[in-house]
Structure formats: C-alpha cells, structure tokens
Symmetry: C2
Subunit: 202 residues, 2 copies
C-alpha cells in the first residue's frame, strides 16, 4: 500500500476509535484492530501516540472549520453569513464532534501537541466570527464597539452551551443550544429578535 494512503488510513482509523471511545481511551491496539493491521505498523508511521492523536484531531476539527468557513463565504451579506455560521455550527453536533472538543480541551493541559492545535483552531474560529462582525459594523447592519471581545463571547457562549448539551444531555437540548446562542448573538450585536433564526430551506 502507498505510504501516503497508509498514513491517511491510519489517521482515519484513529479518528473512528477516538469518536467511539474518547481521546483518553484511545489505544494503539484499538487503532490497529480498527485498521485490520498490526500494532507495530502504526509506530512505523507515527513516532508517538501523542502525535497520532494530535494529527487525527487536527484532521477532524480542521475539516469542520473549513466546512463552516466555506458555507459562511456563500452568505450574501454579514447577517446571512452569521446565520450560515450558526446553521453549520449547530448542525455539526449531531455527530460526536463536540465530545472530541471536550476531550481535547481537557487533555490540552497534558498533551502539548494537542494543545497547540486546539488553540490554533479556536483562534481561527474566533477570527471567522470577528471578520463577519467587522463586515456587519462597516455596513451598518450590526452594532458593536469591540468586535474582538464580541467574537470571543459568541464563540464561548456557543461552546459553553454545547458543553452542557454533550455532558448532561437532559439539562440543555440541542434545540435550546441553537435558539439560545442565536438569540445571544442578536442581543450582543443589537439585532432584532429572529434575525438569526434558521431559515426553512425553501
């Protein structure tokens, strides 16, 4: 098998195990079993377990960011862009992507490589929101005196609510995460209620 393809296959298998069992409980043997290969093979391509986990997480979380980013760019104006942002972000929690983030944040303190990736991606998410807000303020569609702070607030609110949904499923529901976070952004940016509500696909 082509080395590049093999490497991809290993990362894909790692990701599958991570999503099933969580980052902390992912072992080399499980990845090998998922791949249908031996454990030695994984170490032939990866120098350490930490690198393997970091790479798999980056692949998964990076793809989510890219997908949302692409969708946002299709928005005609900043309001639609922000709506698309919420559409994309609140849809992607159907899979276990958010549990991965929870694991990553908790493990960041103990895995430097993972921490670096997690930080970089979070800052990219914040930047994405910040750009939308600055566009909205320039166009007179939104009111905001501190876009950097506002972007961190919108992102953190979304993460904080998602966290409750994933950790304690019957405290906060998926619909509440969507509604409450959209309403929060409306309040933050001086928008009338309903502006960011998900539109029915016509």
């Amino acid at each position: 098998m082509n080395p590049d393809d093999r490497r991809e296959a290993i990362i894909a298998a790692t990701l599958a195990v991570m999503q099933r069992q969580g980052i902390a409980a992912t072992t080399v043997r499980d990845v090998a079993a998922e791949l249908g290969a031996s454990s030695g093979l994984i170490h032939h391509y990866m120098t350490s377990m930490d690198e393997l986990i970091a790479e798999a997480f980056e692949r998964s979380a990076g793809a989510d960011l890219l997908a949302t980013s692409n969708l946002v760019q299709q928005g005609q104006d900043p309001l639609e862009q922000l709506r698309f942002f919420f559409d994309s972000y609140t849809r992607s929690d159907g899979d276990s992507g958010m549990q991965l983030w929870l694991d990553a944040w908790a493990e960041a303190a103990r895995r430097p490589e993972l921490r670096q990736i997690s930080q970089r991606l979070n800052e990219a998410w914040q930047q994405l929101i910040c750009d939308i807000i600055e566009g909205g303020v320039r166009g007179g569609l939104m009111t905001c005196t501190d876009p950097v702070a506002a972007a961190w607030r919108i992102l953190s609110l979304l993460d904080g609510l998602h966290l409750q949904e994933v950790a304690h499923s019957d405290s906060v529901t998926s619909a509440q995460v969507s509604n409450w976070s959209r309403r929060g952004a409306e309040i933050e940016l001086g928008l009338p209620p309903g502006t960011l509500t998900e539109r029915e696909p016509s």
Copy 2:
C-alpha cells in the same frame, strides 16, 4: 484514627492529587502517597476508584458553589448580588478548579456517577443566576424577557471563556475572562457599561 476523619482525609488527599495531576491521571497509589498511607487503606474505605473521584469532585465543586452562593446572599440588591457573583466566580480560577471542571465534563460521558454530580451542580449554578435575574427584573433594575435562557447564557459564556483561559493560557487572559463576561452580562440584561465592574475594596 476515627473512621469518619479518615474518610475525610482520604477525600482531601484525593482532591489534592486531582488538582495537581487532573482527574484522569489520579491513581490510588498517588493518593496513598499524598496521605502518607498504604494503597490498601484507600480500598478499605472506598469501594472503587470511580466513587473516590466522584466524591472528591463533589466536595470541591460543591464548596465553591456554596461559597459563591453565600457571598451572593450578602448583596444588598440584585445588581450587587450579580457583581458579587462575578467577583467570586472569576477569583476562584486562581487555583486549578477550572481544570477539574474541564476534566469532569469530558469524563462525564464515561463515568455515570461523575456525570450526575456535574449535572446537578451546573443546574444549581444556573438556578443561582436565574434567581438574581428574576429579582432584578421584579425590581425594575434589569431587562430580560427569558431569565432561564439568560441565566444559561451567562453561565455558559463564563464557562466557555474560562475554558479558553485554562486550555490555552495565551489566547484569553484571566482579566479578559472577567471583563468580557461582565460586559456580556451587562449587554444581556440591558445594563449600562461598567455596572458590573469589580469595585475596589475601599
């Protein structure tokens, strides 16, 4: 040694280890070393490792909640109560309490006992904020059409910002967590800027 005291001592030692190393990396042997006793002793008092961890987390997080709750009750009006709430919450992150919460949320999916405790405490935090808001709305000091949602937003925003600070220390600083979360609550509740800023102890 008195069995009750011994039990307390074990929990205290467990907590110390948990704060130093994180929940996932806490082992029976480490707790025994911290206590200056043998590993067998821990199992004489606790039926399992999960129970030990859950109990220690409940003790620590419950104490934080109680301390904040007590401080809030000393506020003369809802605005001061909310200010006290932020004072208490944003001060308690000096120690590593927030990393414990991160671990707890991540582990909640795999440790039922921990999940139950985490969920109960989070709901109590939300209730604490909700009561303040309802008092503020009644007294005409705050504007809020949905106190339940607003309380979840204020709590989740605070947790989300804290999360960034703990996981990636140079993305968001401790001061920014305090300022941004207070400002967020002001916007949420229709308060003029600076209303919730920490007062200098005169």
